[in-house]
């Protein structure tokens, strides 16, 4: 926590939370400090407060989501906001209505904050230019998923006390992963050393330019790591188009006890979910309460999102 304590939390400059790339260290520390106060609230018997009473939060999901959507919904409700969730996967946008049209329609309802997930990178940026309220990015294409990275940071800090000086390996489908990108930016900013591990076909072009070391040998990539973050490999990418088969992938890139041996003793395991047990992670490891932070990630996710809603909702 040292790095966070050094900085006195000041107000955030941005009107929107579009990506970790737009945040400064003090912005991050403000969000994480706020989030900490909500962790205990979420554990108490009366979880609801009226911080955002009278505010309207619209969750605009163009892509199916279980965790992130319910997490944002709960976060808004616990803060007392009126929360409306719109799943547009099969709605107007398919009938030819553009993102902008949808945004203008919603804008006319005077929301205070819009949480958006979209399959196209940059969609929240476009949205933010067209509406009068704050926009929080809940995942856009392959670009960013800032609240996921922030909750990951909070989870690590809760266990390890700090992020500075830690060695973190992010493993799996880096190419298609917004979680990986946001985490690379955030963990670097907070002073960690970041390795990415993936088969060459799932490593994005010039990934080293983002300030990481890239490995295609998992044992080398995990060497001496404090944290192992696993990513989901989507089903359609497992069967020949990017990797030959789930079992070949598991053999070389699945997190197994023998590969985890290479990491530091007591290294912790994270996963943004949903997991493919037996494809990217050994099922016993995923459930090992001494090593797996997966449940805490979900728990702290609500706290982080409450913090983001509070901070950004106040902007307008």
């Amino acid at each position: 926590m040292a790095i966070l304590k050094k900085l006195k939390a000041v107000k955030i400059k941005q009107n929107h939370l579009l990506g970790i790339q737009d945040l400064s260290l003090s912005d991050v520390s403000l969000i994480l400090e706020e989030a900490k106060s909500f962790i205990s609230l979420n554990k108490s018997s009366s979880k609801k407060i009226d911080l955002l009473r009278g505010k309207t939060q619209i969750n605009l999901f163009f892509e199916p989501s279980t965790r992130t959507q319910s997490s944002f919904e709960l976060a808004g409700k616990r803060l007392g906001a009126d929360v409306m969730t719109m799943n547009i996967v099969n709605s107007a946008i398919k009938k030819g209505e553009t993102l902008i049209d949808t945004a203008m329609t919603l804008n006319a309802m005077h929301p205070d904050i819009i949480v958006v997930r979209h399959q196209d990178s940059g969609a929240p940026n476009l949205l933010s230019q067209k509406v009068n309220c704050s926009v929080i990015n809940a995942g856009d294409g392959r670009r960013e998923h800032p609240t996921q990275a922030l909750l990951d940071a909070l989870t690590i800090i809760n266990r390890k006390g700090k992020i500075e000086g830690l060695k973190i390996a992010i493993c799996g489908d880096i190419l298609h992963s917004r979680v990986a990108r946001s985490n690379i930016y955030l963990m670097n900013m907070l002073g960690a050393e970041v390795n990415v591990v993936a088969p060459k076909t799932l490593l994005p072009h010039s990934i080293e330019k983002l300030g990481v070391k890239a490995f295609t040998d998992m044992k080398k990539g995990l060497d001496n790591c404090d944290i192992v973050m696993m990513l989901r490999l989507q089903n359609e990418r497992m069967h020949g188009s990017f990797v030959p088969s789930p079992r070949e992938y598991y053999e070389y890139f699945g997190l197994t006890p023998d590969k985890l041996e290479m990491a530091k003793k007591g290294a912790l395991i994270m996963h943004p979910g949903p997991m493919n047990r037996g494809v990217e992670i050994d099922t016993n490891l995923a459930d090992d309460i001494n090593r797996s932070l997966i449940k805490e990630q979900v728990e702290f996710g609500v706290a982080v999102r409450m913090s983001c809603l509070k901070i950004f909702c106040k902007k307008n």
């Binding site: 553009t98 476009l126 856009d140 392959r142 670009r143 917004r178 072009h205 010039s206 983002l210």
Partner: protein, 430 residues
């Protein structure tokens, strides 16, 4: 029309390696009667129509080999009248129109329509291209011979590439019979599928699927391999990468005869200009790295690249106001082609005469048309240029119907002050 006497100009005619102070006489039929240093105020009739160009540059009207018109089918993006106004304000007097209209220019009945509309609504010379394949579907070749006879200048699928190698080989083989010009947009669709930006650090940061340079290089290599077997008039519309350039250079060194173009956008911008998802800079081929851009400038100087085009592709607001991956590709550019190209001269990267040749005499030679020169007897298609005049690009001041300029607010140096087509003044700037 009376004869016109243009005096006190710096005359640049790259085809004849002329760069001298002098004048130009336009005959009453609109052709050039005399040109050069001998044309001065002392040896012309005193009662004649004199235009003092005050030491401004007089050069041949520009020939732009890659322009999307919008007629028929996309009149809301651009029509012949707006295109003509835009082109003339940039000194462009001849264009090759791309066949990607609706319907596609792929049969002889469309050619008359185009020529008629072009003649009635515009003042520029329109040289229509037809598609290589029917409906640009890449499956069946069009009637090269008949279309050419009707006045089609060359064949291209425009924004598309013939993917099927067997068909492409046959096209090149067959087209040589009618001596038709093939113009290929080089892009392997499978490699570029879903991509909207150069593959590299920026695509990784923005989370956009990239288009690798290899998608371009592979088609260039493929077609040039065919060219060895099936010689025809072959032109690569516009390249964007150092990789493709090196293939072109190698083949030219080996003596293979073909030509290649580059869009002014790829010479003046790079992928960093896309910034925060600016869809006006979503282009095809994509803007690439600064290293690629610099190599393309070098490619011009060493003769690997023959032509600079505007790749003028007007898109309405609705087509661009979308997420980056969904937005239409392309940018307007016909009216800023010359001023933007002049940056390369002002920055001492390309000599003026060389630069102008890539937009006048070289395209004319490739197309086989009597344009792009100030030779006596040729049509007086002229452009008068104030090479040092500073100005700022403002989309609302541009004449194209669509406003998707990739260089909004760019400070440029050099502006066209007069344009002539067949001896008539068709554009004048105060």
């Amino acid at each position: 029309m009376k004869e016109k006497y243009l005096l006190n100009a710096r005359i640049i005619d790259p085809k004849n390696q002329i760069d001298e102070l002098g004048g130009l006489i336009i005959e009453s039929n609109g052709s050039i009667k005399a040109v050069g240093k001998k044309v001065t105020k002392d040896n012309i009739p005193s009662n004649s129509d004199k235009i003092d160009l005050k030491n401004k540059i007089l050069l041949p009207g520009l020939v732009d080999m890659r322009v999307f018109v919008g007629e028929p089918g996309y009149e809301y993006k651009e029509n012949f009248r707006t295109l003509s106004n835009a082109a003339l304000s940039g000194g462009v007097t001849s264009i090759v129109s791309m066949p990607n209209t609706s319907p596609v220019i792929d049969n002889v009945s469309m050619v008359d329509f185009l020529k008629r509309r072009g003649r009635d609504k515009s003042k520029i010379n329109i040289f229509p291209a037809a598609s290589l394949t029917k409906n640009t579907e890449g499956k069946e070749m069009t009637e090269f011979g008949l279309l050419k006879k009707k006045g089609i200048i060359g064949f291209t699928d425009g924004i598309k590439t013939v993917q099927d190698p067997q068909l492409m080989a046959r096209i090149m083989n067959f087209a040589s019979q009618s001596n038709s010009l093939i113009m290929q947009h080089a892009e392997d669709n499978i490699l570029s599928n879903g991509g909207s930006i150069n593959e590299g650090e920026i695509s990784t940061r923005l989370g956009l699927k990239g288009i690798p340079s290899l998608a371009e290089k592979i088609i260039v290599e493929r077609d040039l391999s065919f060219l060895e077997e099936y010689f025809c008039r072959y032109h690569i519309s516009q390249i964007s990468s150092e990789k493709a350039l090196s293939v072109i250079r190698r083949n030219k060194d080996e003596g293979i005869i073909f030509s290649a173009g580059v869009s002014i956008n790829n010479l003046s911008l790079n992928e960093n200009d896309i910034g925060d998802f600016k869809t006006f800079l979503k282009l095809s081929p994509p803007l690439r790295t600064e290293k690629d851009r610099v190599s393309l400038v070098k490619g011009i100087n060493d003769g690997s690249i023959d032509v600079i085009v505007s790749d003028h592709k007007p898109e309405d607001e609705e087509s661009k106001r979308l997420t980056f991956s969904q937005a239409a590709t392309g940018a307007t550019g016909v009216e800023t082609l010359l001023p933007l190209a002049l940056e390369l001269y002002h920055n001492k990267l390309i000599k003026l005469e060389k630069l102008i040749s890539l937009m006048t005499s070289n395209p004319s030679k490739i197309l086989g048309i009597d344009k792009g020169t100030l030779e006596v007897g040729k049509d007086a298609d002229l452009c008068v240029l104030d090479i040092n005049k500073p100005w700022v690009v403002k989309q609302n001041e541009l004449r194209s119907k669509s406003k998707n300029t990739p260089i909004e607010n760019r400070m440029l140096q050099g502006q066209v002050i007069k344009t002539f087509v067949k001896g008539e003044i068709v554009f004048e700037r105060n």
